[in-house]
Symmetry: C2
Subunit: 402 residues, 2 copies
């Protein structure tokens, strides 16, 4: 039996970032960028007006004011998208709309609110202006050649907007890991089937499916193998063709737990079996070629908590992400907690904040089959390996789940 940190280290040592693929800009949200994005153009691409108003030469308006307005001839109107027809000579101006290109010769824009026009040909201006005023300069956001988004970034909506602005229709991203899910056990029936006596529904397969989706993987359901060496072997052979294989159940000590035997037969190099964690002790991990293989405990809560602690970091690491540390907060507990030494316990709890302080309450019985207490939980209270008692009212560390 090894410690949690040692197990996690072996897992992260064993997995590699997957290869790359090109995806369209509408499909790249939450993916990890696999290339540096350089600007192929200035943004904005040309000097343009920040306002609706008049593009002028500031020297033409020296000294003008509300009391002493200047009058300029309007030679054209430039709307957003228009190309100015001529350069501004001395004493003339252009009517200009927000986003329209600044005509040659103009050096600033007067807001429409500071002007008055009786006709389209002439405008009275009540304010002088400084060079550059109300002009957005070409390249003031991004300069051609700039490194704009770095490899490794998780793409958010702002990055999508920037990629579009730069004209990138597709980007190279890290592939999403395909994760095969195999559930084992003669007692399991699928959701489509009738539950006969002595049978229970396969819930782990569905919970794992959702967990894989949630953390960016592509789940691949292999369905349930009965406790037969042949059936398990056939399904595991299929599963190790994926980027990762999760086998749920069948890794405990029993005579009928064939999973680890078959894994070894197929050449899976086992890295560890059994971790000092509760729930979740009978957790196995190995590698075949570069495919990580997890043997997860069959109890529903053990399965989900070992996913949280061990599989999630592996999945994110393979996706090119290194932001898999969870937030852990301090919170006061009401209940006294007692445990045996030797295992680190993760207890299902609800954390609430009152006046800036965290309070954690156990959400019910902590048996490894009690899913209802996981449903009520938003965090896991962590009780260290050597601790045997935590007094009520003390402060504990809680890993937040969402």
């Amino acid at each position: 039996m090894i410690k949690i940190e040692e197990a996690l280290e072996k897992i992260l040592d064993g997995v590699e970032v997957l290869g790359e693929e090109a995806v369209g800009i509408l499909d790249c949200l939450c993916r990890v960028l696999a290339e540096d994005i350089y600007a192929g153009t200035n943004l904005p691409p040309f000097d343009n007006s920040a306002m609706d108003g008049y593009a002028v030469r500031s020297t033409d308006l020296k000294g003008v004011s509300k009391e002493n307005p200047g009058t300029l001839k309007v030679i054209e109107e430039i709307k957003a998208g228009d190309v100015p027809k001529e350069a501004l000579a001395k004493g003339v101006c252009c009517r200009i709309m927000t986003g329209a290109p600044i005509p040659e010769g103009a050096d600033s824009v007067i807001m429409v609110e500071d002007t008055e026009a009786d006709s389209r040909e002439e405008v009275r201006i009540f304010k002088q202006t400084g060079c550059g005023e109300n002009i957005r300069r070409a390249g003031e956001d991004v300069k051609e050649g700039d490194l704009v988004i770095s490899k490794g970034v998780v793409i958010r909506p702002a990055e999508v907007g920037m990629l579009a602005a730069l004209g990138k229709r597709t980007v190279r991203v890290v592939k999403r890991p395909v994760v095969a899910i195999l559930t084992t056990g003669n007692e399991l029936v699928d959701i489509e089937e009738e539950v006969g006596p002595a049978k229970i529904r396969n819930s782990n397969g569905y919970a794992l499916y959702a967990l894989i989706l949630k953390y960016g993987g592509i789940p691949l359901m292999l369905q349930t193998a009965r406790d037969s060496r042949d059936e398990i072997r056939r399904k595991i052979e299929q599963g190790i063709k994926a980027d990762m294989l999760l086998v749920s159940g069948g890794v405990s000590v029993g005579e009928y737990d064939l999973v680890r035997e078959v894994m070894k037969e197929l050449g899976v190099e086992m890295r560890f079996y059994k971790v000092a964690i509760k729930p979740g002790k009978p957790l196995a991990f190995g590698l075949i070629d570069k495919t990580p293989v997890f043997g997860l405990p069959g109890n529903p809560v053990s399965s989900m908590i070992t996913f949280e602690i061990f599989v999630r970091p592996a999945l994110l690491a393979m996706s090119g992400r290194n932001d898999f540390r969870r937030t852990e907060v301090r919170a006061t507990i009401k209940e006294e907690i007692r445990k045996k030494p030797g295992w680190r316990h993760y207890l299902r709890a609800q954390v609430e904040y009152r006046e800036g302080r965290g309070y954690a309450t156990l959400t019910g019985p902590q048996g490894s089959g009690i899913l209802s207490s996981l449903i009520k939980a938003n965090g896991l209270i962590i009780i260290g390996e050597e601790v045997t008692m935590v007094e009520s009212g003390s402060e504990v560390l809680v890993r937040l789940l969402d």
Copy 2:
């Protein structure tokens, strides 16, 4: 011009939770449950063994110990999924595996570690046992008839597992809002086209597409309308058939800003226009029948920030979610900040934590067209309407973005 809180109130008053639909259990992650889920069965459905070992009658083992073992006849072996063949008479036991049903007559399970067997027919037992020991009782997780998951819950992997355990193949959830996106402006060219002089790429459409996806909506791209009354009218008519319409650009004061005019012509009842927020002032909101219509400012950053502050809550509310409050933290700023009174400012910033304290740094120029500073930001510093200066080293409120 109205205040942010007033605008938000008008928006939330105007939107309603969408109708329901049934989805398969593999597609329900992150959806909002539209029905209460009651247990149609006990979980676990029957008393079963928590261990590999022997199912016994505790009265048969009174006083046995390591030194004074008891011997019981083994009448059968019950594996997970097996139905026990006979009830336990006095003096006999069954070999039993984890998850297998407890045979009638047995009241506890002895772990295999506390036994020794030379043959399949007989076992020596070194420990006495209490009634109920190592048995998971039928219904100890969930009792038939229990309310297990309440309407309104956002479905997480644990809920998916529970739904599977209860045999729910499909669940009723709130529909995802279909959100139409219309970008306007003669200056816009799509990502597929060449950028000519005076033109810029449509980036808002893509950023909004990603934002809608991120918050659970179904984006519907109407592409770009040129600044022509007919074209805008045609596209808006299309857009108001969706659950929500976002129009980007064309709601400013200019002569060529036709969007609000067309909206009014079509019968959109405008609720407000202009909010005291920067970036984002020219924001319009109205309703036609029950479809909310937003006129978002055309500048890329204004567009994304008004989405964050106003559209996101509306989208989540329509999806049946009421958890749209963002985390706001206190952080110390390095820079002095000056502004004009009258508007609440949201400044792009990077927040970091050192020794439990938050520090915020502006990520660059704050112009409403500067996307590069939004890309570097993980939060928005909030500067109140009436504030005109914040000294360097003071504490500010920061809305976290991710």
